[in-house]
């Protein structure tokens, strides 16, 4: 018995060590990626990067001003589209959680969440680009919005369900209709969390490239016309990265660094600023 127990203990220790090793192994690429992005990216950042347009092919210098603005415009359009649809859908699922319709919608949102972003891009292409035979920021924003919807739906539903039932009963007891109860009492109570969800969704789509390749396409020039193709950080980084020019590679790293910073800031904002909002809401 004793030899067996000793062997099992050794196996236990080895297994536990391997699990700890797994954590280390996973963190190595994380560290390497962040290291390179920071190392190469920070070095390539300069004022020109933020203020200038891309130079013609082969010429060194220039910047990604149009791409930065483009990304912001695109996620703005995406939010305009996804937030109302996602939130109200989430409200419906939270108010009628067990209906057959709700189960189907919930399943659909889950399915949409798993659809590869490039497929969503094809859909946006067919719906928005093809009919007018033109790439546009609207098409790109639409594609990104579609990707945002499942996240917003899920967060909204979960947070609305967390609101204490006493709040709703109180509102209804005071004579509020359901609409009023939901929109003036329950929704505001869940708002901080819902905002978090929206920011998280924005962070996710800010980094998307594939669906933009044939919706927003790209634009060498500065443009805020949403009916025209528009540059974006992600597509610009991609274009530069696969090009043969050293200077463009340098700028690609800078773009990647900026992208990671934007995404991290959005996540931080989601975490901390919203917590501040919550504190304000509480008496």
């Amino acid at each position: 018995m004793n030899a067996n127990a000793r062997r099992r203990k050794i196996i236990s220790r080895i297994a536990e060590t391997l699990c700890a090793a797994a954590v280390v192994i996973a963190l190595i690429p994380l560290a390497l990626i962040l290291f390179y992005v920071i190392k190469e990216g920070v070095g390539a950042l300069n004022l020109a990067f933020f203020t200038q347009m891309p130079k013609p092919v082969g010429e060194p210098g220039g910047g990604m001003a149009n791409a930065i603005v483009g990304t912001l415009i695109l996620i703005g359009i995406a939010a305009l589209f996804a937030v109302p649809i996602g939130c109200i859908c989430g409200i419906h699922l939270a108010e009628y959680p067990v209906s057959k319709f709700s189960s189907v919608v919930r399943f659909a949102a889950d399915v949409l969440n798993g659809v590869p972003s490039i497929v969503v891009g094809i859909f946006a292409y067919g719906l928005v680009v093809l009919p007018v035979k033109r790439f546009s920021a609207i098409a790109g924003g639409f594609a990104l919005g579609l990707l945002m919807i499942p996240i917003v739906v899920r967060t909204t539903e979960e947070l609305l369900r967390l609101v204490p039932p006493g709040l709703r009963e109180g509102a209804l007891a005071l004579g509020a209709t359901r609409t009023r109860a939901v929109f003036s009492v329950i929704l505001p109570a869940a708002l901080p969390g819902i905002l978090t969800g929206i920011l998280v969704a924005l962070a996710r789509v800010a980094g998307e490239t594939a669906p933009l390749l044939f919706t927003a396409f790209n634009n060498r020039f500065f443009s805020t016309n949403i009916a025209q193709p528009i540059a974006s950080l992600t597509v610009q980084v991609f274009t530069y990265a696969i090009s043969p020019y050293e200077d463009w590679h340098r700028q690609a790293w800078a773009g990647a660094f900026l992208l990671v910073m934007i995404i991290l800031s959005l996540s931080m904002l989601a975490r901390f600023a919203v917590r501040g909002l919550e504190k304000m809401n509480r008496p």
């Binding site: 018995m1 127990a5 099992r8 203990k9």
Partner: protein, 275 residues
């Protein structure tokens, strides 16, 4: 061997300690100055008692008085809880379970435990009982079958399940599941069986079956049972320990504790004057 308590009202007299053991000359489990802390909170205060072998000892007392915590210390199940600390000693056959040479794996094989709510693994009846044997290294199919059968017989479950050993343990009723858990604990051949309110989640008929079983098992095992149900303690146990607020108030033969308690608190409790 005088043990002093800091509570003036509850002197633990030597007399209670030295009641003659009916079956063996030495205590199976010997507890000395045992104290237990959850973080900074002391939940068990300086208890000492001797638990005889091949008898049933019941631990009774109101909820939260430390009886389950004490029970779980005997097989060091409290090790799993963070911020838990024990002081003093619990000796089994003369060896302190908290001693440096103690192998918890071996300890828990020798001291089996049955929980308040039955917790069979989501496997077949056979695999549940064979679990302890398999991790102990038993591979031979015939041996496994023998021990599984023996354990089920001892747990008074064999006749009910002998034709469906491969079916899921979760398909059994609550009472059957609990007897399965008892069989599972018996399979690894322990000396001591700790039972933490084993029948509290069961209906009266299933409870009666469990009590019958305990009565049969005490021939071969030392049983320590925590129970809320005083009638159960009176029916089933040879000795009873009354706990309150983490202190051992009184300990002795069950008959004495219930008919002729020495402490007022004990009397109040067993006559139902308080919870």
């Amino acid at each position: 061997m005088t043990i002093t308590m800091d509570e003036r009202r509850i002197p633990m007299t030597a007399r209670t300690q030295e009641k003659p053991m009916t079956k063996s000359t030495r205590a199976k489990i010997s507890v000395r100055n045992f104290e237990f802390y959850y973080g900074a909170a002391k939940v068990i205060h300086n208890i000492s008692l001797d638990i005889p072998s091949e008898q049933v000892t019941a631990l009774i007392g109101p909820s939260g008085c430390g009886k389950s915590t004490f029970l779980r210390s005997i097989n060091r199940m409290n090790d799993i809880i963070p911020d838990a600390r024990a002081e003093g000693s619990i000796e089994i056959d003369g060896k302190d379970v908290f001693g440096s040479g103690t192998d918890t794996v071996e300890l828990r094989r020798r001291v089996g435990m049955v929980f308040q709510k039955s917790n069979p693994f989501p496997k077949s009846i056979f695999d549940n009982i064979a679990y302890g044997l398999r991790i102990g290294g038993m591979r031979n199919k015939r041996e496994l079958h023998e021990v599984v059968e023996k354990s089920l017989v001892r747990a008074a479950l064999w006749d009910e399940v002998k034709d469906r050993l491969q079916s899921s343990a979760l398909s059994l009723s609550g009472g059957q599941q609990q007897r399965l858990c008892i069989a599972r604990a018996l399979a690894v051949n322990p000396d001591i069986l700790l039972m933490d309110e084993p029948a509290s989640a069961l209906d009266p008929i299933a409870t009666a079956k469990i009590e019958e079983l305990i009565y049969e098992l005490k021939d071969r095992y030392t049983i320590v049972i925590v129970t809320h149900n005083m009638q159960q303690a009176a029916r089933v146990s040879d000795r009873t320990a009354f706990f309150m607020l983490g202190k051992l108030i009184e300990y002795g033969e069950t008959k004495e504790i219930f008919m002729n308690p020495k402490e007022k608190m004990t009397e109040d409790y067993v006559t139902g004057r308080f919870g």
